[in-house]
């Protein structure tokens, strides 16, 4: 029997194999994401919340360089992400729910469009990780590097796909792989989620290792504040002088 015949039989058999029965343990992407939502605390802890402020410490490994990060998200769809490194300066990404904008010393003040805007929206929306099943129209199983993990590829029409992997036992996120979009192009990144702990009913990764190209960042969670007092003007596109 030659290779062409084997392939033909394999195709024929696959056509007749009932979906989902080839492997009793096979799970759909939504099974995996649903388990993740549950493991991370579900929507209950969020129900009475309207906004959250997350503070982080960002270190560039090997360079003895440390900066600060802050993320604010609101139920109404506004968000503000600020990262600051000594000398390099401040990067701000924000939205008032309508316009998504960015400001930094390299690319200046810009209204984000296309893939870049789509990516910022997906990353920064309220309860982003609990809405993966709804905000990513395309979800499929992705190969995992270890047998202890199961992975899902998530994609929208607008932004590059990401691969999220989850621990089979705890169902918590272990890694995220994708490409970050900027005017300088697409930069591949890999995030490892570490050091989970329960806080305010939510399982939080308190430390993340991020590799982007040759750079390695350590991001440490410093604090979370629920329903902080916020001035809505912080989300608005700054006025140009």
């Amino acid at each position: 029997m030659n290779i062409r015949n084997i392939t033909a039989i394999a195709i024929a058999l696959s056509l007749f194999a009932p979906v989902g029965t080839a492997n009793a343990a096979e799970r759909t992407p939504d099974d995996i994401l649903r388990d993740y939502e549950k493991a991370s605390g579900g929507t209950n802890p969020w129900k009475k919340r309207k906004a959250v402020r997350i503070r982080q410490v960002v270190s560039l490994r090997g360079m003895n360089l440390q900066g600060a990060g802050e993320t604010i998200q609101t139920k109404g769809g506004a968000f503000l992400v600020v990262q600051e490194l000594p000398v390099v300066g401040k990067l701000t990404k924000a939205s008032n729910g309508k316009v998504i904008w960015s400001q930094d010393k390299i690319n200046g003040l810009r209204i984000l469009e296309g893939n870049e805007a789509d990516q910022a929206r997906l990353e920064s929306m309220w309860q982003a990780d609990l809405r993966l099943r709804t905000v990513y129209p395309t979800r499929k199983i992705a190969p995992s590097e270890t047998t202890a993990e199961e992975c899902v590829e998530l994609a929208t029409k607008g932004s590059p796909p990401i691969v999220r992997c989850f621990d089979k036992q705890t169902h918590l996120a272990t890694t995220m792989k994708g490409t970050a979009v900027s005017p300088q192009g697409e930069t591949p990144y890999l995030v490892k989620f570490l050091d989970y702990a329960l806080q305010d009913g939510i399982m939080l990764s308190r430390r993340q290792e991020v590799s982007a190209g040759p750079a390695m960042l350590d991001i440490r969670l410093e604090g979370i504040e629920w329903d902080p007092k916020l001035n809505p003007s912080i989300f608005k596109l700054p006025k140009v002088k």
């Binding site: 090997g62 998200q73 990353e123 591949p188 990764s205 040759p214 002088k241």
Partner: protein, 476 residues
């Protein structure tokens, strides 16, 4: 929110912080890199394998107090370069064979300067700039000489306020900072330096064959390093004055005029900024690319010229060895009216495009732009000059640039060693690789001692003439 993390910051961090290493000469001691044609390996390269068992290394007794760290430093440096260099094939160099060749030599070195010399020979196998290692116990002869010629004043690093360059084959003072101790001591452009800090200045590297432009850079850099020392300390200079008489003076190192910048592992930097005006033409000079206050000074000055509608702006990048690569984008964005590519940084597994673009908060300067260069212009200076030159937005005037434009990172290794390694290469929009080639000026200006003696700056004067000629044409 279970993963409070935003990946969009990565490109920005990567571009700004990692591109930092894209500079020649500040972080490393030998900006011309480890190019050593004599050391090139001609064997068929085997693929680099970080997991391959290390070549057998006999335990070597060494009396140096740092010797116990050498193995870890060697392995970390070798692995880092192998895993992070932008070219997975390392330019065809057999990296495993290089390890075999140098590891025992390094571990058996009689002292730390020798150990780091061997380590730099290992890096030199790649024959590229921006590869350098140093660490505790390392001390090159120049460092020792500087100490000999300094009082132990400590504190901020200073210099007497002169620039010494190779003019017509001789170490010559090309600039004296107004009001500096050198100016007070009577130093003038055109003086030939016969001895600095007890040694003659040479353009020849003791161990490496340099390209002619690298030789000129080497002389300049050697003089620069000798001139630097603790503020208040002194250095002796012997020279031939402009009447061709030999003379000697002792110069005091002035405190730095720039504001101190501390960034990660880098030593404290004091970038200098000058904003001058020749008639209605603006001149901006700075000696390092560093964001923060310096970038604010540059952008504010460009904005002033935009508002004043000055006919021309000169960016003086002579002697500027580079720095934060992303700063080229910030500056270029203030000089272009439409999206303009400055080139592409090719990393190991992706590329970043250096695109100067308009933004809501920046209005571009639209007058004529001239960039001044010389053999001391490197790295980010070359990226900015080449990008704006190819886009026909700037005219480059002066001398060829160094051709050391490989973006690099600086990382601390075990044992306190500091490694600078290449993470990307850079090509202009036309695909020109700047490394080893440099930027060819549109108008090459040959500098002479005579012109310096007469108080001229022929490079600057050519730039001013170019702008004025255009202004006259517009009036006609």
């Amino acid at each position: 929110m279970p993963s409070p993390f935003r990946p969009t910051v990565f490109a920005w961090f990567l571009l700004s912080a990692v591109g930092l290493g894209a500079c020649a000469g500040r972080a490393g001691k030998d900006p011309t890199g480890g190019a050593d044609p004599a050391g090139a390996i001609e064997t068929q390269p085997a693929p680099f394998s970080p997991t391959a068992p290390p070549p057998s290394t006999p335990e070597i007794e060494n009396r140096s107090p740092y010797a116990s760290s050498r193995g870890a430093i060697f392995d970390a440096a070798w692995r880092t370069v192998g895993e992070k260099h932008y070219d997975k094939a390392l330019g065809g160099v057999d990296w495993n064979a290089a390890k075999e060749k140098y590891r025992n030599l390094a571990l058996g070195a009689p002292d730390e300067p020798t150990f780091y010399r061997v380590m730099n020979d290992l890096l030199g196998e790649l024959r590229q700039s921006h590869l350098f290692i140093t660490g505790p116990g390392d001390e090159n002869p120049l460092d020792a000489l500087e100490k000999d010629n300094s009082t132990s004043a400590g504190g901020d690093p200073g210099n007497p306020g002169i620039v010494i360059r190779d003019i017509e084959g001789k170490p010559t003072i090309t600039r004296v900072r107004p009001g500096s101790s050198a100016a007070r001591a009577g130093m003038r452009p055109g003086f030939i330096v016969t001895n600095l800090g007890g040694r003659p200045l040479t353009a020849h590297h003791p161990r490496r064959t340099l390209r002619p432009i690298e030789q000129r850079f080497y002389l300049r850099r050697t003089a620069d390093r000798l001139l630097q020392g603790p503020a208040g300390s002194r250095i002796t200079i012997r020279y031939i004055d402009n009447a061709d008489r030999p003379a000697e003076a002792t110069l005091t190192r002035d405190a730095p005029t720039g504001k101190v910048v501390r960034f990660g592992n880098l030593p404290a930097l004091y970038p200098e900024f000058r904003a001058d005006q020749a008639g209605d033409i603006g001149i901006i000079a700075f000696d390092f690319f560093m964001m923060g206050d310096l970038l604010d000074q540059i952008t504010t000055t460009i904005d002033k010229h935009r508002v004043a509608k000055t006919p021309g702006l000169i960016l003086d990048l002579r002697g500027n060895p580079g720095g934060m690569a992303a700063m080229a984008i910030s500056i270029a964005s203030r000089l272009v009216s439409k999206k303009t590519s400055l080139g592409t940084m090719q990393f190991r597994d992706h590329e970043n495009h250096f695109v100067a673009t308009t933004s809501l908060d920046v209005k571009p300067y639209t007058g004529k732009v001239v960039i001044l260069t010389d053999e001391g212009s490197a790295s980010t200076s070359e990226i900015l000059a080449a990008g704006l030159q190819e886009a026909k937005r700037a005219t480059v005037v002066g001398g060829m640039t160094l051709g050391a434009a490989l973006p690099s990172a600086i990382e601390q290794l075990p044992g306190g060693a500091i490694l600078q390694y290449v993470i990307a290469d850079f090509r202009t929009p036309a695909g020109v690789l700047l490394e080893g080639r440099g930027v060819q000026p549109d108008r090459i200006v040959i500098e002479s001692r005579r012109a310096l003696q007469e108080g001229h700056d022929p490079v600057l004067e050519t730039a001013l003439d170019l702008i004025r000629a255009r202004k006259d044409n517009v009036r006609k």
